[in-house]
Point group: D2
Chain length 340, copies 4
């Protein structure tokens, strides 16, 4: 932490700040500038958030943090990208580009089986599908709940594809974990700390979506919540942030990929379906995500988007998905990756 | 809903859209424009979200909603502003400007009692204080939990001030409701739908904070979640939205007050402490909130901000709070309101 | 400037940075931290932007500026709020709340005269009206240009109200300055540096609007452009920033008022018409602006908004303006100000 | 346009709206809904902006535009992507991915010649370099002006690379056009309509950068300004938008590429240097831009970034640029494009 003093701070004010820094267990170090002094506080940076309270002291202009407040998620802790193992065949973060695909919601046995077969045929490695649905309106379809989980398990049995599905509260997390291979935390729950702690205690990989107005630093702090409970198998997912632009549902922030690769060892995937909200833009943004270095994609595919009970406009039809996967192969190769 | 067809859509494409609108239970009405056709879908607007899926159909340019999707929260349903009763003496939404004040977190018996006495003395009507704290970092202070609730109850007993405190997950909601007079839903949980449903089932007033990247329409949909479970006692709280500006912690959107007054009958209060993140800006923004028509304020006051375990920089000292309350009276009068 | 070194930077890398800091004319000062070193660069802060280039050096994590880069606009330079004198009777920044009002565009002699008489009658001190109009579409009305300026002069002659009007390029700035009492720089030109320099060379007060995505620091840098050419008579105008919220045309950032009061001595006014885009919200946001400490307002008033050639939806009718001004008086008094 | 009436609008209010629509030259068409009426206004959509003023009428809830307000820039006008020809060898918008590269500012003869030779050697087709620099601070380097233009011409002569450079005001536009092959309009001038009109009258291709808070629709309206003056040779450039995220200088909105490809026939390039502000992120975002369908890139390359007078941290060294270009070739091929 660097404490910047006001230009006209008094000696007494400076002394109070020095004293308080020492009380908090840090070693102060003063730099006398031409117009003002700045004070460095030396010691373990991670617990230094408490130093922020020095901003309330007389004579202090502001307090500037130097280090990032996450530790377990940090690239400094671990140099190689973590590979999150899902099954013997499927993992995320290695040479392979891992593709998760399927409908927004599980709607019926026929729909999810048809979807699972189609996405497998198209080249997906993991089946996605929501059983518990967080919807903006209380009057919208809220998911089939446990029945939906059972249908996902059936689709897995049939196709061999592991399953990723969303968990929306701590109370039903154990239930979801019985059925799912990956527990998804949605964007709206990305700072639901009670839920993050709960999935941190479970022994299943976690797919953590970035919140709509979450900085990359906050995103990593949410990953840190899961990891600090003992669960290291966290997969980060960029899915678009909220900006002033309305031509797309969200603004897909692909620069988050290289930024995250510098800051963390966790693998990063991209959701081009929620990121754009429009099936026309899913293929180009999938190619771009892989080119930017993503370790995988999560894509909405529905056999009949016009009759989908949620997210129809952003879902690909199976034939379009297959066509996209064929082109994606070329971009994966250009990136030195594979899609098998 | 208005379905806008592409300039070159075919007759067959239009017929398919008309057929689908009828299947969904609406009556289509075509307007033939000079360059393209638009189709109105007539029927109960509230369930029309499903019509959005028509965007997936061939020949459709886009689908434009006409009505707002909330009902119980709507000003159309109820013309007068709702008055939410807390105790025999205290309510929110009437002629009085209701002031909630206290520390960010309950830290100790001495701290919360001292705070309660000070804010009562300064003119507050309700005591605030967090027992369960949602913190961005897992390494920050997470609150005293049930012990904190007990201390709040003790402070209430001593001062007579009712208590507002945050509930952070469905599992502990009943516990919080045993102690609190108002259940606060924080900004990060504003779309935690499982939690919204849970507090909708309890019989305590709910203080719902706007999410950091929440549109006003989404804010009202979250209120609708609580209300649709049978709890009408919802108080909305504007607490700043996330923008590119970094001079303040958030950007306090005071125009949300008159916008909400047009759209909903629910009372609206403002949190200038989180809205600005800096105690220097709390008083002017409090005055502005009252001038813009707010029904109340929630303000962070701490006897010793420099040693606060959270949010020190944005907390007022008791003397400053009292000074602010005296000036606030003048603005309340200018607005035709009272602060007694 | 504080240069933060990487955790694993080598001694040679540090030496290179120290050498470069000295070459640029600053004195380096090293703080040895537990996990990394930080280096302070001591010397005149204003020219330090060049130090930002150290981010390109090996071993450097990032460079953190300590001071604000403006000087003439800074409150440190001048403790009292500057009073910008317009005429013998009218000035901005003193005890009085100064009101500028009138139509978005000058449309005809009858319209501007009628507007001028009405806003004077309502209590305005300055007449606004656009002769050169920057419009998003090339097919929209672009203003009456010099004819519009002449009509403004006629309205001034008749009512005695000084005139504020927009200047949109350096070529026509001298022409506008012949007629106008205050030169307005619009939000879209707030970083048109060629134009800022030009009005800095003229001897007329400048009303500088904040750009739609301009930070407060950039806003003050634009003021600094005008002032660095010798023109100190700058009035800042908050007019709403662009955010994700679409219920209002922009998000009026009233917290910019107290922030600016800390950082600069320049007077600050507010434009509630562009800030909200809706005449229903103009009165409450005007009251809030005054309560937050604004030195004045600029408000769109039109005798016939339904037939206005621009900005009809956000213009007040004269009767509504008069009604608002009467209530505004009460808020001005609460703020210890006057509106005479 | 669709005019949505309030639920309780009276017959007289509706009649007034119908009358006004007819007066403005449109044909009204009423749809009677269950809770409210909506009125379509049929006629040439382009001039309909004036209909927006109907929002001021009694009984009107809001006015919803159906069509986009641009015409010349629209994909409806012209189905194939426009190819903008620069020289006999170089054009933008065809099969080739066109690369513009060079320093932010022209600093000296040696620097620009060295840069030009290096970027040509690396595979660039066009040399970039600023002679007139729009800088946030009046105290920053403002460019070599005409001397810089002469040095660019010298570099062109030596290498054969055509030159793109920025024009910052109408007064110096003719001078820049004497030297430049492409006239660049910077992000801060993207709604400087006087400047847009001026370059629309010149007969040189225009590289138009998206403003920091510009919607895609506004971006196309700015292109329309240039085109409506007779200059069709417009190249659009996505360069990042301003959001809450601070880990990158801007948020590069790559989804703008497929969105623009649907809406306009103009070619689209990407600026990954300003888009990210950090040379580490330039290569991955360049690859992603090409994968998303961009027609070209504009990249900052400097022989000595640590001593650059502007934008050092985001500039590539020549060796890194060459390395990037070699990989870019693979992504271009995957996209069915070439980089020769």
């Amino acid at each position: 932490m660097i404490v910047v003093m006001k230009a006209k701070s008094t000696k007494q004010e400076k002394d109070e700040v020095l004293k308080r820094i020492r009380e908090l267990g840090y070693k102060p170090h003063v730099i006398h500038g031409e117009t003002r002094d700045v004070i460095g506080a030396i010691g373990d940076e991670r617990g230094k958030m408490v130093l922020q309270s020095l901003e309330s002291m007389h004579g202090v202009e502001n307090v500037v943090p130097i280090l990032q407040p996450y530790k377990l998620a940090s690239r400094e802790l671990r140099k190689e990208t973590s590979v999150v193992r899902i099954t013997d065949e499927v993992s995320i973060g290695g040479k392979n580009i891992t593709i998760m695909a399927g409908p927004c919601s599980v709607e019926s046995e026929r729909q999810i089986i048809e979807s699972a077969v189609a996405v497998k045929e198209g080249g997906a490695h993991i089946l996605r599908g929501g059983a518990f649905k967080p919807r903006t309106s209380p009057y919208s379809f809220q998911g089939l709940e446990e029945d939906g989980l059972k249908l996902l398990a059936k689709a897995r049995e049939l196709t061999g594809l592991p399953v990723v599905t969303e968990v929306i509260n701590p109370e039903t997390a154990d239930l979801v974990a019985e059925y799912a291979d990956i527990l998804q935390i949605g964007a709206r729950n990305s700072q639901n700390f009670a839920l993050l702690k709960k999935v941190g205690q479970l022994r299943k990989p976690v797919l953590l979506k970035r919140g709509m107005s979450m900085t990359i630093q906050e995103f990593l702090m949410s990953a840190e919540y899961v990891m600090s409970e003992g669960n290291d198998a966290v997969i980060l997912c960029e899915r678009g942030i909220r900006t002033f632009e309305t031509a797309t549902r969200n603004t897909l922030d692909l620069s988050a990929i290289p930024v995250l690769q510098v800051k963390t060892h966790l693998p990063v995937i991209v959701d081009p379906s929620h990121g754009t909200g429009n099936h026309h833009y899913v293929a180009p943004m999938s190619f771009a995500a892989v080119a930017a270095g993503a370790d995988g994609l999560i894509v909405e595919v529905h056999p009949d988007p016009e009759n989908a009970s949620s997210d129809g406009p952003q879902s690909l039809k199976p034939a379009k998905f297959k066509e996209m996967m064929e082109k994606l192969k070329l971009f994966a190769e250009a990136a030195g990756r594979e899609t098998e």
